[in-house]
């Protein structure tokens, strides 16, 4: 991939020179747009080629940091007892505190503290035994109090690492593992929802979401492209879903990601960064980041400067547009939240203050014990239990429901796990992707696939017939594999005299090919095999056919 991009670069450089010769009046700015094409071609390979080739000394690289807001999966909100729900009638899940009526006070939800601590432990963070709440002031209609209660000075967890992988390499089938540092995890309130009605020049405010607990995960800018960021977010989603602390659905707004993007030359101080918002899926995250890196590179290469601004991502065009609303640098006037004393968590029951009810203390030991199996551990377990490759284990855990499907098939069939993996990865995934279905929508149940594989293992059908039957099962999910084999008479032809007869027929009718084989060209044998398979409608064992043909043509 590095080689081809260098070739393309050389070609376009040549084109650049020719343009300058033939069109001397074109300004350098217009020629720079051609440079853009070169950059776009090579940016995708850049992530991978950075490791392989020694990039030319003054190449710009992207620097990406993420801020993730994960909505805590709890029954009630962070500081009030109103329900957390999605798509409820407007303003029906709002308490007096959420509407910031005077005289109301925040009361912290224990479940949210446990969720934040669990997430911190899963991400190898140091949990601060004492953390503080602050007010962050800004005016916006969906923030009724005029401030948001957050944890700016001393958050609940700091200094963690997220290890994530993505499929890289030339064929995208090698697991590449990277890690990114987590700066801090803090608890904060969500704001309400505003619906803009430009027609009547007003905004409609729904406070159902105001006050819901959020965990803000701030990451250090250790990533360099959209693909890495998307993989990191996917890993976070899997971890949070495994912990049960967040349902991680980006489309429903349970997981919101903002990207801070800048470019610089390695070794130089960081460039000016822009913040990209309004991203609603991991795929759009990668697109937005890659576009923004490109845009900043073009700006810098044509001599401009990048503005420190907030930009919004437009999913339809794939571009980022500056957001009008932000005026200059915001001063949030942070101040300690006077209505909440410090939040204390204790290492073990023995260090907790004596005489306090257990419901009033959060103990790290207990939370640690309740940690479920994390995705990385699960992947390792699959590799060890079933002897499959890490790439396959990665895909199994990554796709929703695929691991359960695989394990169900492996349990019920006598075929080895490696064979099952082949079927799940190639045949099943192939059709699912083609028809854009999720694993739960697959017309073939794990039991049906297991039965099919058993037929093959028992020698009742050949491997090529098995594939045919799979396609049939997909179209007619009501039938079993056995039925289809019977109806279409696809059972294995085991009669060796019959096979011998067919092989002899093919050999006799193709003397030229036989001559070529005897002359040393073994590849022609495959053609003869193909002909025999056609005759037997794929029902004979390929290994046997090859042996017989080889015997006959020796």
């Amino acid at each position: 991939m590095a080689g081809s991009s260098a070739g393309m670069t050389a070609l376009l450089c040549k084109m650049n020179k020719q343009i300058a010769i033939f069109y001397p009046t074109i300004t350098s700015h217009q020629r720079h747009s051609w440079c853009v094409i070169r950059r776009i071609c090579t940016s995708v390979s850049r992530c991978q080629s950075q490791a392989q080739t020694k990039s030319a000394p003054q190449e710009l690289v992207g620097v990406v940091g993420l801020e993730i807001h994960a909505q805590i999966h709890s029954n009630t909100k962070l500081f009030s007892g109103s329900q957390v729900g999605f798509q409820a009638p407007p303003n029906s899940l709002v308490s007096f505190f959420d509407a910031s009526l005077p005289g109301t006070l925040p009361v912290l939800n224990r479940r949210c503290v446990e969720a934040a601590v669990m997430t911190g432990l899963a991400l190898n963070c140091t949990i601060n035994r004492k953390s503080l709440f602050d007010r962050k002031h800004y005016f916006y209609a969906d923030l009724p109090a005029g401030y948001q209660i957050t944890q700016q000075r001393l958050p609940i967890a700091v200094d963690g690492t997220l290890t994530y992988s993505h499929l890289g390499g030339r064929k995208r089938n090698t697991v590449v593992t990277k890690s990114v540092r987590i700066k801090q995890i803090q608890l904060e309130q969500d704001s309400g929802k505003s619906l803009h009605d430009d027609y009547r020049s007003q905004t409609l405010i729904d406070l159902n979401r105001a006050g819901v607990g959020l965990m803000e995960l701030v990451m250090e800018p250790d990533m360099s492209c959209g693909e890495e960021a998307a993989a990191a977010v996917r890993e976070i989603q899997l971890i949070l879903q495994a912990l049960g602390t967040c349902q991680g659905n980006m489309a429903e707004g349970q997981l919101r990601v903002d990207a801070n993007v800048s470019v610089h030359r390695p070794g130089d101080p960081w460039g000016i960064r822009t913040e990209v918002k309004n991203i609603n899926s991991a795929r759009n995250l990668a697109r937005a980041i890659d576009y923004e890196i490109q845009r900043q590179m073009v700006v810098l290469e044509s001599g401009g400067t990048v503005q420190n601004e907030t930009r919004s991502f437009d999913g339809k065009t794939g571009h980022t547009i500056p957001m009008r609303d932000k005026e200059g640098l915001q001063d949030y006037r942070f101040m300690p939240e006077p209505n909440l004393p410090p939040l204390m968590v204790y290492e073990s029951c023995s260090t907790a203050p004596p005489g306090v009810a257990p419901s009033q203390v959060v103990v790290l030991e207990e939370v640690r014990e309740r940690l479920p199996e994390l995705p990385s551990v699960r992947r390792q377990r699959l590799v060890e239990t079933y002897g499959i490759l890490p790439e396959h284990s990665f895909t199994l855990v990554n796709e929703d429901g695929l691991m359960d499907y695989f394990e169900a098939v492996a349990r019920e069939t006598k075929a080895g796990p490696r064979k099952v993996i082949g079927w799940v990865m190639n045949e099943l995934q192939g059709l699912l992707h083609q028809q854009n279905l999720s694993v739960s929508q697959s017309p073939i149940s794990p039991q049906a696939l297991a039965q099919l594989l058993n037929l093959q293992e028992n020698g009742q059908i050949s491997s090529s017939v098995a594939k045919q039957v799979f396609q049939e099962l997909w179209k007619t999910p009501g039938k079993t594999a056995q039925q289809i084999v019977k109806e279409q008479d696809l059972g294995m032809v085991n009669d060796s005299t019959e096979i011998h007869r067919i092989c002899q027929k093919v050999v006799d009718s193709h003397p030229d090919q036989v001559q070529a084989i005897r002359g040393g060209n073994k590849k022609v044998l495959n053609k003869l095999m193909g002909l025999v398979q056609k005759e037997t409608k794929g029902r004979a064992d390929p290994v046997l056919i090859r042996a017989i043909l080889e015997e006959k043509t020796s």
Partner: protein, 132 residues
């Protein structure tokens, strides 16, 4: 004179005033409030105080707070509130409030189909020159 039985024994309030006025020379030099700072404060707090009275009030308030510099705070962590040693109460995660949309909507003059109505986005404050 109050009868002895109604007099509070062991009161923390001293019988005689112990207030010591802070002299001008004990305070650090007065800080200037620049026009830019006033503009920024107006923008953040959305309070109009550009007139002479407003500025005088602000400067007096800063001077009053300067008295804190007289206290020696070396090696002492600042407090956030006088109740910061109390235990933070943790609430159980059970639904106990909400479902009062009608009551809340009655508080607002302008509502549309159970939504509160607000002006579109943030209307930016006009620049300093335009506001004077």
């Amino acid at each position: 004179m109050l009868p002895p039985s109604t007099r509070i024994t062991n009161s923390k309030v001293p019988r005689v005033a112990t207030w010591e006025p802070v002299l001008e020379n004990q305070l650090p030099p007065p800080s200037q409030v620049s026009v830019d700072l006033v503009d920024k404060l107006e923008r953040l707090a959305l309070v109009d105080f550009r007139n002479e009275e407003g500025l005088a009030c602000l400067e007096k308030a800063i001077r009053f707070a300067d008295q804190l510099h007289v206290v020696d705070t070396d090696g002492i962590d600042p407090m956030d509130s006088v109740l910061e040693e109390r235990a933070l109460y943790l609430r159980e995660d059970a639904v106990a409030e909400g479902d009062c949309a009608e009551e809340l909507l009655q508080l607002s003059k302008n509502t549309v189909e159970e939504y509160f109505v607000a002006p579109p986005g943030n209307i930016p404050l006009p620049k300093r020159e335009e506001r004077c």
